[in-house]
C-alpha cells in the first residue's frame, strides 16, 4: 500500500492538468474528475494509515532529480511514515469534502473550471509537502501552495480588494519562505544533503554543530511563521478570507497553514536539539495565540472570526511543539482540521443563505437551518474545547505538556526553558477563556436571537450539507483517538518515530482538565450573557477605548507593513532608485557622450579652413620631428 503513496499527489496533479487543459469540455466541467482523483487518494491514504497503524516500517522511495556538482544531487523522493500517513488522511479527507461542497457552493460561477483545477493543484502541493523526504522537494510543494493560494484568494479578481489580498498572502508568506530557504541552505551545507533523514541523523549524532543547528532551526521556523500565520506574519490570513469559502476551509484546515506546523513536526528532532529555537517557537506561539484571540473578539465578519481563531489554534499547535509535545501539537493539527473545516463550510452555508459575511446581518438562523446550526455548534464547541469533543482532548494535551514542564515534572528532557513553559501555560489558559467567549459570541450572533438580514435564508442543497454534517461527526469523534479510551495504540503511537518514541497510553491530569473546562464554560457563559440578544448598540469592548482601537487597527501591524514597508519601498525607495538610475548612472553615461561631443565642438575651431595655417602647422611639426629624430633618438 505504501508503495502506491506517490499516486496520491500524482492523481490530483493529473486531475489538475486535465481540468485545466480540457475541463470546459468534460462532463460536470471537470469537477467530478477532481473529486474522483482525491477520492481515490483518500482511499489509498486510509489504506496506508491502516498499514502504519499495523506497524509497517517507514517506506522510502528515492531518486535523483538532477546533479549539480561533482558529488551533489538534488534528490526527489517520498517518505511514508506515521506522520505522513496521518496528514495524508487529513488532507485528502478535507480536500474531498471541500470539493464536493464546492460543487454546490460554486455552482454557476463563471470560473468554475479554473476553480476546481486550482483546488486540485492546491491539494497536490500539500500532499507533496506531506510526503517529501527532502527539504527542496518539500519547498516545491510549499511554494505551489503559495501560488495556488494567490490564485484562489484572488478568484473573484474583479474586486481589487481580492486581488490585493491575494498578493498580500503570497508576499507575506514569501517573507517567511526566504528564511526557510536559507534554513535549507544551512542544513544542506552542514549535512551535504537535502534529505530530512540525513539532516536529522547529522543533528542527532552531533556532526552538525549546535550553533549551526540553532541558526538553521530558527531560519526554518521563519518559513513556518509565514505559512502558519504566526506573529508577526499572521496578517495575511484574515485578508485571505477574500477567497471563496471552500478555499478558506481548505487553506485553514488542511493545507497551507497546516504546512508550517507540519514542517516543525517533521523536523522536530532538529528543533528539539536547540533550546533557542524551542523557546522562540513557544514564545512566538504564546504571543500569537493571545493577540489572535483578542482580535477575534471584535470582528463582525464571521469568516474573520474563524480566521483569527485559526491563527490562535495554530499557535496552540506551535506552543505544544514548542514545549516539547510532538504528539500533542500534531494531534491538535489533526482534530483542528475536522472542526475548522466543518466550521468554515457551515459558515459558507450561512453566507450562501444570507448573502453576506457580516454577522450583523445574520441571527435567528437556528430555526431555518437546523442541520447547519447543529453542525456548526458541534464544531464551535469543539473549538472551545468542551468535553468530550475533539478540541478538548488535543487542547488538554497541550496544556498538560506546558504544565508539566513549567510547574510539574516533564516526562523527559525538553530543551525549552521552564519560564517559557509557564508563559505558554498561562497564555494558553487565558486564550482558552477568550476562545470560548468569542465562540459563544459568534454562535449567538449567527444563530440566536432574531434574523436581521433581508434575504430569505434556507438550508443548502445536499452537496453542501453532506460534507458539513460529516465534518461535524469528525469534530465530535476525532478527539477520541487521543483519549485514554484507545490505550497504548493511540494517535501518539501512530506518529511515533525512532527519534520520537510513543509515550504510551494518554494519562489525563483530571484537575487540569476540569480547570480548563471550567474556564471554557465561564467564557461561554459570559458570551451567552452578553450576546444572546444579538449585537449591542455599542460593542462592550468600546468601554475600554485604548484596547478597542488597538484591536480595531489589528495592533497596527498592517499599518506598519502597509505604510512603513510597502509604501516606503514602492513609493519611496523604488522611485528614488529609478531616479538615481536615470539621472546619476545614466546621467554619467549620457554625460560622457555629451562631454565627447562638447569637446569635439570646441576642438573643431582648430579647423579654420585657412590652408596656410595648416601648412604652418605642418612645417612646425616637421621641424619638431626633425629635431626629435636628430637630437633625441639619433644620439
Amino acid at each position: 500500500m505504501e508503495r502506491l503513496a506517490w499516486l496520491v499527489p500524482a492523481l490530483t496533479l493529473a486531475a489538475w492538468a486535465l481540468i485545466l487543459l480540457v475541463g470546459r469540455r468534460l462532463p460536470g466541467k471537470g469537477a467530478p474528475f477532481g473529486i474522483l482523483a482525491v477520492g481515490a487518494g483518500w482511499l489509498l491514504s486510509l489504506g496506508i494509515l491502516g498499514r502504519v497503524i499495523g506497524g509497517a516500517a517507514p517506506y522510502h522511495l528515492r531518486g535523483d532529480w538532477a546533479p549539480f556538482s561533482t558529488d551533489l544531487r538534488i534528490p526527489i523522493g517520498i517518505t511514508v511514515d506515521g506522520l505522513a500517513a496521518v496528514l495524508l488522511v487529513v488532507v485528502t479527507t478535507v480536500s474531498l469534502l471541500v470539493q464536493i461542497y464546492s460543487v454546490g457552493y460554486m455552482r454557476g460561477d463563471e470560473r468554475y473550471v479554473l476553480f476546481f483545477a486550482n483546488l486540485s493543484l492546491f491539494t497536490s502541493g500539500m500532499l507533496i509537502v506531506v510526503l517529501a523526504d527532502n527539504l527542496l522537494f518539500l519547498l516545491v510543494g510549499w511554494e505551489i501552495m503559495g501560488v495556488c493560494s494567490y490564485f484562489l484568494i484572488g478568484h473573484w479578481w474583479e474586486d481589487p480588494a481580492n486581488a490585493r489580498a491575494a498578493i498580500k498572502a503570497f508576499l507575506v508568506t514569501r517573507v517567511g519562505d526566504i528564511g526557510f530557504l536559507f534554513g535549507i541552505f544551512v542544513f544542506f551545507w552542514a549535512a551535504k544533503s537535502f534529505e530530512i533523514e540525513r539532516i536529522i541523523a547529522g543533528v542527532e549524532s552531533g556532526a552538525i554543530g549546535s550553533t549551526t543547528v540553532t541558526l538553521g532551526a530558527v531560519l526554518l521556523f521563519c518559513g513556518a511563521i509565514g505559512k502558519s500565520g504566526q506573529f508577526p506574519l499572521h496578517v495575511w490570513l484574515p485578508d485571505a478570507m477574500a477567497g471563496p469559502t471552500p478555499v478558506s476551509a481548505l487553506i485553514h484546515a488542511a493545507t497551507m497553514v497546516a504546512a508550517g506546523v507540519f514542517l516543525v513536526a517533521r523536523m522536530f528532532p532538529v528543533f528539539e536539539a536547540s533550546a533557542t529555537a524551542m523557546n522562540e517557537i513557544a514564545v512566538i506561539a504564546s504571543i500569537t495565540m493571545l493577540i489572535a484571540a483578542l482580535l477575534a473578539l471584535v470582528q463582525d465578519d464571521i469568516k474573520r472570526v474563524l480566521a483569527y481563531s485559526t491563527v490562535s489554534q495554530l499557535a496552540y499547535m506551535m506552543a505544544g511543539l514548542g514545549v516539547g509535545g510532538y504528539e500533542s501539537g500534531v494531534f491538535h493539527l489533526f482534530t483542528h482540521a475536522f472542526f475548522k473545516a466543518g466550521l468554515f463550510l457551515a459558515a459558507g452555508c450561512v453566507i450562501h443563505a444570507v448573502g453576506s459575511n457580516s454577522m450583523s446581518r445574520m441571527g435567528g438562523l437556528a430555526k431555518v437551518m437546523p442541520w447547519t446550526f447543529w453542525s456548526f455548534t458541534v464544531g464551535a464547541l469543539a473549538l472551545a474545547g468542551i468535553f468530550p469533543l475533539a478540541g478538548f482532548w488535543s487542547k488538554d494535551e497541550i496544556l498538560t505538556e506546558a504544565w508539566n514542564l513549567g510547574f510539574g515534572t516533564p516526562a523527559e528532557h525538553v530543551a525549552t526553558s521552564q519560564g517559557v513553559a509557564q508563559i505558554v501555560f498561562v497564555t494558553g489558559m487565558f486564550t482558552a477563556f477568550l476562545t470560548a467567549f468569542y465562540v459563544a459570541r459568534m454562535l449567538w450572533l449567527t444563530f440566536g436571537s432574531a434574523y436581521r438580514g433581508d434575504r430569505h435564508p434556507h438550508e443548502p442543497d445536499g452537496f453542501m450539507l453532506l460534507p458539513v454534517v460529516l465534518l461535524a461527526v469528525g469534530a465530535a469523534l476525532a478527539g477520541l483517538l487521543g483519549s485514554p479510551l484507545m490505550g497504548e495504540t493511540n494517535f501518539g503511537s501512530w506518529i511515533a518515530t525512532p527519534q520520537l518514541p510513543a509515550r504510551g497510553a494518554v494519562v489525563i491530569n483530571w484537575g487540569l482538565a476540569a480547570t480548563a473546562t471550567a474556564v471554557a464554560l465561564v467564557g461561554m457563559a459570559l458570551g451567552w450573557r452578553l450576546y444572546r440578544k444579538g449585537l449591542p448598540e455599542r460593542e462592550y469592548l468600546t468601554r475600554l477605548p485604548l484596547l478597542y482601537t488597538t484591536l480595531e487597527h489589528k495592533f497596527y501591524l498592517d499599518d506598519l507593513y502597509e505604510r512603513g514597508i510597502v509604501r516606503g519601498v514602492v513609493g519611496g525607495l523604488a522611485p528614488a532608485t529609478y531616479w538615481f538610475d536615470q539621472r546619476v548612472i545614466d546621467g554619467v553615461v549620457n554625460g560622457i557622450a555629451l562631454g565627447t561631443r562638447q569637446l569635439a565642438r570646441g576642438l573643431r575651431y582648430v579647423q579654420t579652413g585657412q590652408a596656410q595655417w595648416y601648412a604652418a602647422a605642418l612645417f612646425v611639426g616637421v621641424v619638431g620631428l626633425a629635431v626629435v629624430v636628430t637630437q633625441v633618438i639619433g644620439r
Binding site: 579652413g609 585657412q610 590652408a611 596656410q612 601648412a615 612645417f619
Partner: protein
C-alpha cells in the same frame, strides 16, 4: 666645389619657398613658392648625386621626375585657382576657407 655651397643655397631657396607659402595671400604666389621649394629639393638631389658619384645618377633622375610632377602640379593648381577666381572673383587665399568647421 664643396657640397656645402649647393646645400646652403638650397636651404635658402627652401626657406624662401616656405615663407612664400605661409605668408603670401595671392594663390598664384603660393603656387610659385611651392615651385621654389620643389626646386630647392632638386638642387639637393643633384648635389648629392654628384657628391656621391652615383653610377645610376639616381638623384638626377629623381630631379627630372620632380620637374615633371611639378609641371603637372602647377597645371592642376592653376586650373583650381582659375576656377576659384571664376566662382569667387578673388584669388586671395584668406577668403577661401571652404574647409572651415
Amino acid at each position: 666645389m664643396p657640397l656645402l655651397y649647393p646645400l646652403v643655397f638650397a636651404a635658402f631657396l627652401f626657406s624662401a619657398g616656405v615663407y612664400g607659402v605661409l605668408a603670401r595671400r595671392n594663390a598664384v604666389m603660393v603656387l610659385m613658392s611651392i615651385e621654389l621649394m620643389l626646386n630647392a629639393v632638386n638642387v639637393n638631389l643633384v648635389a648629392f648625386s654628384a657628391y656621391l658619384q652615383d653610377k645610376l645618377l639616381a638623384g638626377q633622375v629623381f630631379a627630372l621626375f620632380v620637374v615633371a610632377v611639378a609641371a603637372a602640379e602647377v597645371g592642376i593648381g592653376l586650373a583650381i585657382v582659375l576656377l576659384i577666381y571664376r566662382n569667387r572673383e578673388t584669388v586671395n587665399i584668406d577668403e577661401v576657407d571652404l574647409l572651415r568647421w
